[in-house]
Amino acid sequence: MRSQRLPRLTHLQFLVLGLLRSGETAGRVVREGLAAHGVKRTAPAFYQLMARLERDGLVDGWYEQITVRDQAVTERRYKLRPQGMKLWTEARDFYAGVAAQGAAARWSDA
């Protein structure tokens, strides 16, 4: 099996981009998704992370007005960019490859 370079994404970035794979999502929802995986971040810390992903060209972010209980509020929404998708796929393949290699090694030990 050819050797693979380590993924360029951190675990947290991998998780965020993974959550965005399903399509454009509100920041609040992504943050809740992280919390479901046990990653608690304050709102400013979460948006700091998202701003860096935006600056690196991995996600697009914009404001959108929505209505909550008849009140107009603004929320920040995000969607994955092709570069983000590419890096996430690379990272996923890397981990999958490592996992497959580990499984093969266990069989040979047995």
């Binding site: 920041g27 609040r28 943050r31 304050t42 709102a43 400013p44 810390a45 979460f46 948006y47 700091q48 998202m50 701003a51 404001y63 929505i66 909550v68 209980r69 009140q71 509020v73 603004t74 929320e75 920040r76």
Partner: protein
Amino acid sequence: MPESRLRRTLRSLLPPRVRDDMFDPAAHDLDADYARGEQRRRTVGLVLLFLDCWRLAPAEVLSMFLNDLRHAFRLLYRDPGFTLAAVLTLTLGVGGNVTVFAIVNAVLLRPLPYPNAEELVIIEHRDRRTGITKGFIAAGDYVDLHTRQEAFESIAGYGTLRTIVYGEDEPEDAAALMASAELLSILRMTPLEGRAIAPGDTRAGAAPVVVLGHAFWQTRLGGDPAIVGRSLNIVGPNGSAVMRQVVGIASPLFRFPARSNTDLILPLPLPAEAPAVRKSGWTFAAARLKPGVTIEAGSTQLAAISRQMEQEHPTQNEGSEYYAVPLRDATVGETKAALLLMLGAVGLVLLIACVNVANLLAARSLGRRQEMSVRAALGAGRRQIAMQLIAESVALAMVAGAAAILFASWATPALTRLMSESLDAAALGAVTIDRTVLVFAAAVTLFVIVAFSLFSALGIRRDTFAGTALSPTRVTTGRAVRRATSTLVAAEIALAIVLLAGAGLVLRSFSNLLSVDPGFNPQNVLTLEIIAPADRYRDVSARAALQGRMFEAIRSIRSVTEAGSAAVTPLTGNNWTASFERADRPVPAGQRPPDVGWQAATGGYFRALEIPLRSGRYFSAQDGPSAPPVVIVSETIERQFFPGESAVGRRVRIGDGEAAEIVGVVGDIRRAALTDAPRADMYFPQEHAPSIGTTLFIRTSGGPTAIVPELRAALRQLDPAIVMRRIETMDDVTRESMQLTRVTLWLLGMFAVSALALAAIGIYGVMSYTVRGRMREIGTRMALGATPGGIVRLVLADGVRIACIGTVIGLAGSFAAGRALRSLLFGTSPTDPWVLLAATGVLLLTAVVACYVPARRAGRLDPVKTLAGW
């Protein structure tokens, strides 16, 4: 406060990126939470959000700044012309400062090699009647000062001695410290092996002992620890070689005084009780202040004891005053003023360099206004643009700072070599770019960063935010920018004038020093110290015989025309004095006779140095040991003490009841230094009291150093045990006495020339920049009939106006700065009109030349082309 206002206020208190990237989306989420029914007070939520943003802000701002810094480095790389000019200019400024500071650090700041060295003082003597100061104290007064004082832990006598250690090989020259037992205690010297000098070692009749210096023990005795307890044959202070038992080895690096080597430490015998003739011997004295006692309090007590001694012994102590000087000041001497002056001067060069680079930045910002406008149009705020400009300043200063340290590491050894003859050689050996110097370099670089950042931030024009992306063909210079750059150049010229005037004053002092007649002719004179073994020439007749044979041998060398000897070499700072009293007009009882300069010399000394004989005769063989005592006086003594009569044939008292006849009057000489006024001097014949250690003065018909091999051979033949040292020409002695002024002149001159060049570049840059900004105006003037000559005059007048304003301010600064120079000036005043006039002339001429090129370019503008671009 309403919630919306609180939100706006909190938002405005955050850095832009934190506000936009973190606060805004999080605050919107907060809105949504409240819409969904969140119960907590919204103001509390906003404040918590704000605090959280601030928690995260530092990392965000730093990352932002690092991005800006990367961009700034890219910009510097893309604009090599600007980068080279700015970095070279700043390297000169910062590097010059770091170089001079490295020496200041080594000489003035680095702690002296003694624990709590700030408590150590040297006690000096001042004669209130003549103002003459001495770095040592009378042995009789030492005893009383030592017992009566309470401000010091102890007062310790010491002295230095060039001595000889006789071994199996050739006799070795060694530097000895003569120390009382207290000296090593107040210096906190703990011996590496054995013991230090003990009180019993300094008593009369005590067994002779020696403590070896660590380096001497290592290099000359092979570091043998078994040496302690053995004996060495060492010449003592009385000139006799005796076997001294080695009782200890000093701690490594111990030396005292700090500017000398200490090869050996010998006990210094001092009287336990004050002798009747209190000023018959002198000793250096050091002391350590008791904890909590200031040096002022110590000096006050010394002055009080001096007054007591004056009342108790008026005939010997009238006008005698003792005071304490910090050990560092006594060690560094007058070089402190010169070094601080250098630091000030190089600081001015840095300011000029900064002004020049600020001008370069201004000129560059003109070309970048379009870029800035585009950035503003794309949403960059004033603060963001300022941050970018600050990052550019930081990048520039970082490159310049690094280059400056490289420059300093090259320039420091060069400057050290230049200053080595006039500064503390021991300290200069350790001039390094150490941590203190690096911190200083960082501080200077930070100053540069702050200066440029302020300049850049203030320079952001309001029209950058007017929403118009300017066309490069429509570049104009705002009046405010023009005024700012003109002000900077005027400041630069003012600073350059200060440096030029300073250099001019020192140049004038130096030229005055060169033209001083020392009263003797130093050309073609060789001088050297000789020491003969005292045990072979114990009695006076043996010494007189040696002296006679020695001069006979020296005079037989071809090209030697005259030879003599004396105790004191002129121009080496020696201030030894003797009391002067006419035998026929004794000083009234209870009064102390005045002091005059003391010298012991042979008749050949006057002939060798060509000190003119005014009347009477020089000393000769007829003044030998058995002859009645005679003296020679200088013409100032004759004028002062024998007004209207001849001094020759008169008698002076030279001791208790003894009188000597004045046999000659000679011309005055500059005794201690060229800057000293000629003083009254009295000469005692070395023919009468020949010494085994003396200084020879040999006049030759050709180059004096050429006779050294023959001289060495002649003295060897006379007695192989005679040691010769410090062989130099009197020209060298004279040159060394002017070394501090020469080095100051060199450095100030270098700084002044740099300042002049930078000022010329500055004024050239500003005029080019102004012409570029006034192209439309000049084009219009030419279209309306202005001649090229008229345009040249217009531009020149502008430049000269700036130069004149700078000159006036600079002249005012020169008056103030001249005061700092006063201690280094000779024969000129800090406000010498000729010097100030010359500095002004040089600078105005430079300014006109620097303005002429852009002025001529303006005169050649084609009005059609210029206006077509409008």
